[in-house]
Amino acid sequence: MSKLERLLNLTAVLLETRRPLSAEELRTQIEGYPPPGPSFRRTFERDKDDLRTLGIPLAVERVPGTDPPVDGYRIPPEEYYLTDPGLDPDELAALHLASLAVRLEGLDDAEAFWKLGGGATPDGAPTAPITEVPSDPALVPLFTAISGRQRVRFRYRDADRELDPWRLDFQRGRWYLTAFDHSRGEERNFRLDRIDGAVLIDGARGSASSEPPPASGARRHSWEYGEDEPITARLRVDAIRAPWARQQLGDDAVVESDDAATLFEVAVRNRDAFRSFVLDLLDHAELLSPQELRDDLVDWLDRVVSA
């Protein structure tokens, strides 16, 4: 009688039972357990730990009709069985390739592919990943809460927050969370690496405020996030830096372009952030309008010159 055999039988029995089974019932039904006593209890505790470590959902419920109550165990089938995603072979191969090319730091997905039906490494697989996306201790708890539509609590910038997490974004090398912040009564963005301490999952969410916004899909720029009155800036960028500026601002921002320069129109909500972007171009760009942004920039430069 091997331990593997005992664990498999335990899993089968707990999946098939319609009512919670007590430890004693499981001991008598499944081969390989020691006689009643401390040795059995230790073995049974270890088996329960092993099942949970494997990710098997083990429910603990009162055995019906017992008084004093006796703990009973079962595996709720709806929490155990993977819904078949119905992947075609080329789709499974594409997932395989993706997992080789883009890795999430510290996570091994071999078992995930077993669950999806295995499959050898496809031909033409890259020998080295094109990137490893950094992980963060908050990432898995937040994803768990997003998938399970749960509320979370954590400490951020010296304040306790209570949030309904909506979306995780990896942008410019960092992880961000978009969530409804109940402490503030509105949507907020958080940088995961600034979360102070652990993320606590805090049960189901209830209110209508929990409805997530549609995914933005748009490029995020620091000058699009701000409290300032929106204003349209016109920026001329010399050819030497125009390709880079075009990547940053997007094709839609281009008003006209020739061999010497490209003219852009940009919606600005955070003037400080936009000034920083313009100055990164050094003397290869000129902020044309509106006049107030131009004046602000000139004033800023004068202060640096005379510093």
């Binding site: 029995v13 990710g55 080295a128 994803f143 410019r172 997530p212």
Partner: protein, 327 residues
């Protein structure tokens, strides 16, 4: 049998049995290859599986495993009809990989990967495709494609490259070795004929590419693409006295010393890898830099203390055409 082995075999068996049930008569060799194990290991696992069942463990309550002519059939394993759900870390890792690769500029928006991602999100029971968004960085799709093709073919490419540190554009012939993304930007690690050495180029600063189609004599080293830039003793150091609102500098740049200042802010020491880099930093920080000083001897007579003001004056010169802007 050790505990770890039982756990690992358990994971495999719980995934493999449903697949074998769904593929009656599959060749043992094919199944073993599919799950990355030897045929002997597979047969070992199956030797345990046929002992599994429900009380009272009479033959009609046990899993039925038939192995004949190198093929395998499994019946009566209803309790293992489907694999175990993906754990949150497993689901997250798959979504990050597939969403990340699908976001690479030029990726096929209707290909197998986006389809797989959609099906996976559906099976996970949440509109997860919209809940996890991975963007590896900006890059021109054609530039990326040209450099990746050249890297896999071992051919050379001529590029126009804007050097951010020196604020100049150069034309170089390079042998791309590896294209990768890091911290929100794309890079190509390459042999550069102009520099006569290995160089890392940021792809969003490549203004143009011209494939030569000619094979390169330069072979990539085993650690191609793993080289990260480290400042060394040749780079001058400056000390900046930063106001509190400029403390983000310590998060974005490798600061070598941070000394808090009474009343807020800090004095930080930075290695200067290029004059243009320092110019930008100082012009952007503006009044938030309370003072700047060279650390150690001034080499080559270059006093970096004044570069911020000089750069600001250069930028300011573009705005001397009066206050009336024209386009």
């Amino acid at each position: 049998m050790s505990r770890a082995t039982a756990g690992d075999r358990m994971k495999r068996v719980l995934s493999m049995v449903p697949w074998l049930v769904a593929h009656p008569g599959v060749a043992v060799a094919d199944a073993a290859a599919r799950f990355g194990i030897s045929e002997a290991e597979l047969l070992d696992d199956l030797n345990v599986v046929w002992l599994v069942g429900l009380p009272p463990y009479t033959p009609d309550n046990l899993v039925d495993v038939v192995i004949e002519d190198g093929r395998v059939w499994i019946h009566y394993a209803d309790f293992f009809k489907r694999p175990l759900k993906l754990t949150p870390p497993q689901a997250l890792a798959l979504l990050v990989s597939s969403d990340g690769l699908a976001s690479v500029p030029g990726a096929d928006a209707d290909g197998a990967l986006p389809r797989a991602l959609g099906k996976l999100a559906g099976a996970l029971g949440v509109d997860t495709a919209d809940r996890v968004d991975v963007d590896l960085g900006d890059g021109d799709a054609e530039t990326l494609a040209v450099l990746r093709d050249a890297a896999s073919a071992g051919t050379e490419v001529e590029i126009d490259y804007y050097s951010y540190n020196r604020d100049v554009e150069t034309t170089r012939r390079i042998a791309p070795w590896r294209v990768f993304a890091d911290a929100g930007a794309w890079y190509v690690d390459a042999w550069c004929h102009l520099a006569e050495g290995e160089r890392l180029f940021r792809i969003d600063r490549v203004a143009a590419t011209r494939p030569t189609g000619e094979a390169s004599a330069q072979r990539p080293p085993a650690d191609a693409g793993e080289a990260v830039f480290h400042p060394d003793d040749r780079h001058p150091r400056v000390e900046l006295d930063l106001a509190p609102d400029a403390m983000w500098v310590t998060e974005y740049y490798p600061t070598e010393a941070v000394t808090p200042v009474d009343g807020g802010g800090a004095r930080v020491v930075l290695a200067v890898t290029g004059t243009a880099w320092l110019e930008r930093l100082l012009v952007r920080l503006g009044p938030s830099v309370r003072s700047i000083a060279m650390v150690g001897p001034v080499s080559d007579g270059v006093d970096l203390g004044a570069v911020g003001a000089e750069a600001a004056a250069r930028v300011r010169a573009r705005y001397t055409s009066g206050t009336t802007a024209s386009s």
